[in-house]
């Protein structure tokens, strides 16, 4: 690892890092909720999230130096007590969520002023950091039921965050309500599935479950539990055709929330699915093999094509990008469905890259919408002349989304191609190529409108986004280029993650 944070921290702190990374933001939530000034609330949230980033960096370092960390909450030893586990699989996810959270918080300051009434801003920050704590908790926990609790903490605060968009656009209320219903069904399905597993094995600890499931793997209870869990988490991660809540929730929530959700929420749910499929169940199980080949892979392929196709015809840029997100989730699921170490690594690689490019895209759209007051494609005509910095960053991220060489998106698509060809799944290559062509079309529509049209009277007042907004935007845009040239940092992390999912393949 190119950095050394652990040596800077006291030993007592390092031992508690798995708990601290969640507890730190979580305890800040009640404080932010009662702080009278929203600027102070924002500063507290920023400090808390930077703390989480430091914890996450240190955790990555510790995990790569000393191997898997286990933390028994309340001193109750697992498998009876709740266990936090940090290994090579979830440490990168923690890092991703924490870093994106930091950038989103910086981005929040100028956009909040525009989009959220003053008396709600401190509470909004509180809901945001609670969501953050929930997502980190999902990533860090080693207990199947505890995962549900954290999933609900993050989801419920997400519904609030989406609904705040209703202050500007009333459609956010129906979007949030829709998301609430779908998300609750997803969480319920997940917990029903965990209930089945508990009935069959008598344990909730993931490591313990993994040890006990093979004995009873042929029972209907386990099969039903598996199905419930896959569908439940599928709803959360917007797996086609369970993605209906996503486009509206992304399109009508405040811009800052869209940035944060697009880059973290579905990613963490995807991680939860990977964790359940590979660390609790096993790809060696026959029914899981069949699910991969006959359910996940076809659905992912349909998503990659159908939703890219739908994205082409959207008139609202945020909705267009939201549909593109569902298609990209399809890419990741294809990597997962290959059920090989290479495939999973490629899927996770694309997950991290997608967080970077979608984060940047939504940030840029929000940056222009700040002075434009709309995210309709036709209102974006020629805005690149008014806001060149914002739109250039957007163009970089858009090219990365298409997968142009020298951008991060290219490398992860190549990784997916390779992984598919090794398995002989040539049709995956065809699907990805077709989806990429469609991506050229919808990204082309955005770029054509913003760069090549002449601005009309609607765009008179468009200005460059404020510096607080350009900073996180350009960090992400440059990251897209940097990791497009040298992605060894990310690929090391994702290879490590995949090696946890396939123990024994490599020592």
């Amino acid at each position: 690892m190119p950095f050394d944070i652990v040596s800077l921290l006291p030993d007592a702190l390092v031992r508690h890092l798995p708990a601290l990374v969640v507890v730190f933001p979580m305890l800040l939530a009640p404080i932010t909720a009662v702080v009278p000034s929203w600027r102070v609330a924002w500063a507290i949230v920023l400090a808390g999230i930077v703390g989480s980033v430091i914890c996450a960096f240190a955790l990555v370092q510790v995990v790569y130096a000393d191997g898997t960390l286990s933390y028994a909450l309340g001193g109750w030893a697992p498998p009876l007590g709740i266990e936090f586990v940090v290994d090579k699989m979830n440490a990168p996810i923690l890092l991703l969520v924490a870093i994106i959270g930091t950038l989103a918080t910086i981005y929040a300051l100028p956009t909040m002023v525009k989009e959220i009434p003053e008396e709600k801003r401190a509470l909004f920050m509180s809901a945001f950091i609670l969501c953050m704590a929930g997502l980190l908790g999902v990533a860090v926990t080693g207990d199947a039921f505890n995962l549900f609790v954290f999933l609900e903490i993050s989801s419920i605060s997400t519904y609030v965050l989406v609904a705040i968009g209703g202050m500007n656009d009333r459609r956010a209320f129906t979007a949030a309500f829709n998301y609430l219903i779908m998300g609750s069904i997803g969480a319920t399905f997940y917990v029903i599935g965990v209930g089945f597993l508990y009935a069959a094995t008598g344990t909730l600890n993931m490591t313990d479950l993994a040890a006990r499931i093979p004995e009873v793997a042929d029972s209907t209870t386990i099969h039903a539990g598996f199905a419930f869990i896959v569908v439940g988490l599928g709803l959360k991660l917007a797996m086609f055709p369970l993605h209906q809540w996503l486009p509206n929730a992304y399109a009508y929530s405040p811009n800052f929330v869209t940035v944060f959700l697009a880059a973290t929420a579905t990613k963490v749910a995807f991680y939860a699915l990977v964790r359940l499929l590979f660390s609790v169940f096993s790809p060696a199980l026959e029914f899981q093999q069949m699910t991969f080949t006959w359910v996940l892979a076809p659905l992912a392929a349909i998503a990659a094509i159908t939703c890219s196709f739908q994205a082409v015809f959207q008139t609202d840029i945020k909705r267009m990008l939201a549909y593109s997100s569902v298609a990209q989730v399809g890419y990741m699921l294809l990597g997962l469905a290959l059920a090989t170490e290479l495939g999973l690594s490629a899927g996770l690689f694309h997950l991290i890259n997608h967080a970077m490019m979608k984060g940047a895209l939504f940030m840029a759209v929000g940056g222009v919408a700040l002075s434009l007051g709309s995210s309709q494609l036709r209102d974006f005509a020629g805005v690149a002349r008014k806001a060149p910095w914002t739109m250039t960053a957007m163009a970089i991220a858009a090219l990365s989304l298409v997968g142009v060489p020298l951008t991060a998106g290219f490398l992860s698509k190549v990784a997916l191609f390779k992984a598919a060809l090794v398995e002989g799944w040539w049709w995956v290559v065809v699907v990805l190529a077709m989806s990429s062509v469609l991506a050229v079309l919808y990204v082309g529509r955005i770029l054509e409108s913003t760069f090549f049209k002449t601005p009309g009277p609607t765009q008179m007042n468009v200005r460059e986004a404020p510096i607080m907004l350009l900073l996180p935007l350009w960090v992400l845009a440059l990251a897209n280029i940097y990791f497009g040239i040298d992605a060894s940092f990310i690929t090391n992390l994702t290879d490590g993650a995949a090696s946890i999912a396939f123990p024994g393949v490599r020592p």
Binding site: H16, M26, P30, I31, Y71, G75
Partner: protein, 150 residues
Amino acid sequence: MNPDHHVILRVTGKFLIPIIVLFALYVQFHGELSPGGGFQAGVIIAVGVILYALIFGVVDAMKRIPPIFSRSLAAAGFFIYGSVGVWSLINGGNFLDYDFLVAEGPEGHWGQHIGIIIIEIGVLFAVAGSMLTIFYSFAGRAPEIDDEDW
């Protein structure tokens, strides 16, 4: 509010509400030995206030227990719960390890005793505060369209 209406309700209400809150405290502190605990007690306390709001009006109830107070109460409860965990962390144990709350030998279990009581108080605050906040935000919501405007 017209003082002639609901005399019986208001008189019995005034008599009942203190008993409801007292019962909540019984449920809270007897929770170790019988069914009960912070969650149930919090709900019962909130019910007392909600009954007050139903009889005397939401506006009056909001004057006695302002929404900012109920919200802060919920936040405070959550914070108390979390700080117990942090306190045991500072004392060298794992997060929420009650054995480390007070300095005692390996045979002592006062930490467990104290820990659960403080945590249940946190739960009481959080639940009572959240229940009231939810009630206020539903009941205190002004209708956007008057019935006559339909």
